[in-house]
Symmetry: C2
Subunit: 448 residues, 2 copies
């Protein structure tokens, strides 16, 4: 029998879970501080809910579930695994429109599944940590997204991230002003989205290959070759964009929105983090306004991203509702934190504070009673199950990185004491039984 | 476009999630206090990992995932959704045998999926909260399971649950001593398992229908008709079992194990909870030792259950490893707690402590700055995104059950103050801006 998890998926052992829970705990706390409220949706959706929402490539990556019972033999699928958290949110907003507040701010931390070819850092099951704000067109809401992502990353110990920000309508205006006809915008955006990976020359080649005229290509590259800057003040890129879009009304108002976002963000934890990046396009076609992506120097991809999508919910609701959202990629955050050694020491501790040893078979009831007392002191307590010799029990506890063992031998029992042994120092202390929990807890608080 | 979740599944809105998280939080805390460590496994397994593990009925209820790409048209499945948490655990124990401790105590809180016909309280996606202890045959470990389940339920506010306990080998011995031949045991167990639902007469009928001879049926019923008692002392049922199995060696040792469990549990939070129930069989065929089920008076089914299964892991590992486990059903716990009104008041509070109102468009930066200050005081803070008239903003906050709103008008700004309005009492207080977070936090602590 094969015992490996399916291709592209992972089992998480206790140390993995503690790292994940540490990050999720910070994410959840910050999201709640920002007034986002939790929802969860089923792992699978009716298949027609998902098909057609993620483009042709996305459709192919959706895991489909066979019909059941007599219909199984048809080989048809009626359900499909969640592919992201945004489409289920759009469905939820439509389904519960009368119960949800006018401004619905939700967070959702759940796995999604994509039948991508597995690769280093690319999984078929991975977690997204999404926040979305539904119902308002205010840039204040976009800023709250940027601010909460900044606070999450700051609390996790990231001090070198930047928030790349652009605007879909500004991008459209830039392309129009460069002379790229509307029907070539998607192609041009796909090419420009690769600026990071293939450089200016690569983008030029790709624009030509996709049939963009030489004049327009040249105008694009003139603008974009000097567009990305890494300095705190965003006046220069905003000014360049403003000048390039000139009298293009939609473009000018999009640049104004970007300027508002930059200014408002200065009063938040996103202060100094924003980098206007006119070449940022982001893949998904449903974005309509400000778009954003979180970058750290030592990661090729992004730690997260998002943007405003004012039409997607309308596909379910029947009328458009403004919406903007951001996702943090749990796996990538953990990869970088692990490589940089960013987890606090307590996350690396094992799952047990103290193990009650078993003196002999007759003292089993006393061992579980002691465990109960220690647990009442809020300790994480294991009980060794067999009356093996004490050295073997200590060795087992040490192999599980338990800092303390508690021993009640005949002498200790006679004196109403517990012998507490610190397995890291080897030091053994006899303490009155009623004091044992407090003794161990204070030692743990002092030296981890 | 349909907007309901798929049949048998549910969307969880914020109030639902807060109830679920309250229960999961208690479960996790107690499990950790007992030295269980968290693992998680993928939502789907290779299909051959699951098929054949849950009996013929189980096989039919497994959600199967279509092969992808060019293989999709074959209509074949290569993956299947997790059906329980025990089989994935058995796979994990085999896969990571060299990394896991000799006594591996793990907890796992994840959804499982079963294509059951949806009904009231029966879902196709539901959560299990499992603990299992691998590697020891000691009854001390079974007692730790019963104890931790008792502590979970006690902390959640259950004071009327009982732990029905039996032993598979004792049950086998009882049937043998009653004269039911081995090949009829499974049939007889299925019939006896229905004692709760169909009563003694029903069981008698079913035993006959399944070909159990009249003498054996009579002996069974003589014993089982008086077997269930609801009194704290377990001496009588243990004694009756011991007498009925007489010289049946395996049966006698099984009854001894039950007696040990009862005695040891007296030193734990399971004290007084155990009811030896010789008719308890539990469905799954992989149990081999002590079995247990958690009952409350106002629920027909159980809140959870489990037992010892010493052979299942061997199917993956190649050699048998002793194991015992228990699952708590999150959904059923929540159903009973909701019907009884057992959730603490703070779980019923909304997700926001205070909303910062927006005085006018010009003060947006000041509003996000105030939100930042309040968040630094650990409050959950929303900011109203538009400069609507104040009455409308208050109404919105009240509709979301936010207890407080913070207002900075021109006067307050001039005086360095914030007006804090308690939306429940209507009382409005001007406080120095630097004091606002502490003021609101202390009001929340005092009256929820």
């Amino acid at each position: 029998m094969k015992t490996r998890p399916p291709s592209g998926t992972r089992d998480f052992l206790p140390d993995d879970i503690r790292r994940r829970e540490h990050v999720i705990g910070v994410v959840r706390t910050v999201y709640e501080r920002y007034g986002f409220e939790p929802i969860e949706t089923p792992a699978f959706e009716n298949i027609e809910t998902l098909l057609g929402k993620y483009g042709e490539e996305g459709n192919k990556l959706i895991f489909k579930i066979l019909k059941r019972g007599e219909h199984e033999r048809t080989g048809e699928a009626d359900l499909a695994l969640r592919y992201d958290l945004t489409v289920p949110l759009a469905r939820v907003v439509a389904q519960y429109q009368n119960q949800l507040p006018k401004f619905f701010k939700r967070y959702q931390i759940q796995p999604v599944w994509r039948a991508d070819r597995p690769a280093r850092g690319r999984f078929r099951e991975f977690f997204q940590c999404d926040i979305d704000a539904i119902g308002s067109t205010s840039t204040l809401v976009d800023v709250e997204l940027l601010s909460s992502a900044s606070e999450v990353l700051g609390r996790l110990g990231f001090h070198d991230f930047v928030l790349r920000v652009n605007h879909r309508r500004a991008l459209t205006a830039l392309l129009e002003c460069a002379g790229v006809p509307m029907e070539q915008h998607t192609d041009a955006l796909i090419a420009l989205d690769k600026l990071d990976k293939i450089g200016l020359a690569g983008v030029e080649q790709e624009l030509s290959a996709r049939g963009v005229e030489i004049e327009a290509t040249k105008a694009c590259l003139d603008f974009f070759s000097d567009a990305r800057r890494d300095e705190p003040s965003q006046d220069v890129p905003l000014q360049r964009m403003r000048e390039f879009v000139k009298s293009h009304a939609a473009g000018a108002s999009a640049v104004d929105e970007l300027r508002e976002i930059v200014q408002l963000a200065e009063a938040t934890p996103a202060q100094g983090r924003i980098r206007i990046d006119p070449s940022l396009a982001r893949g998904l076609s449903y974005y309509t306004g400000a778009i954003m992506e979180i970058a750290v120097p030592d990661l090729a991809g992004s730690l997260g991203g998002g943007g405003r999508y004012d039409n997607l919910i309308g596909m379910f609701l029947g009328h458009d509702v403004p919406a903007t959202g951001l996702t943090l990629g749990l796996e990538r955050i953990i990869v970088v934190m692990t490589e940089r050694g960013m987890f606090p020491p307590e996350v690396g501790r094992g799952g047990v504070d103290v193990m009650v040893t078993l003196w002999n078979v007759e003292s089993r009831a006393d061992a579980v009673a002691l465990a109960r007392e220690l647990r009442q002191g809020e300790l994480r307590v294991d009980v060794y199950p067999d009356a093996d010799r004490l050295g073997k029990q200590f060795k087992y506890a040490a192999s599980r990185r338990m800092p303390f063992v508690a021993i009640v031998g005949d002498d200790e029992r006679a004196r109403g004491e517990v012998a507490v042994k610190d397995l890291r120092s080897g030091e053994q202390t006899a303490v009155p039984r009623a004091e044992a929990a407090r003794f161990i807890a204070s030692r743990l608080a002092n030296n981890g």
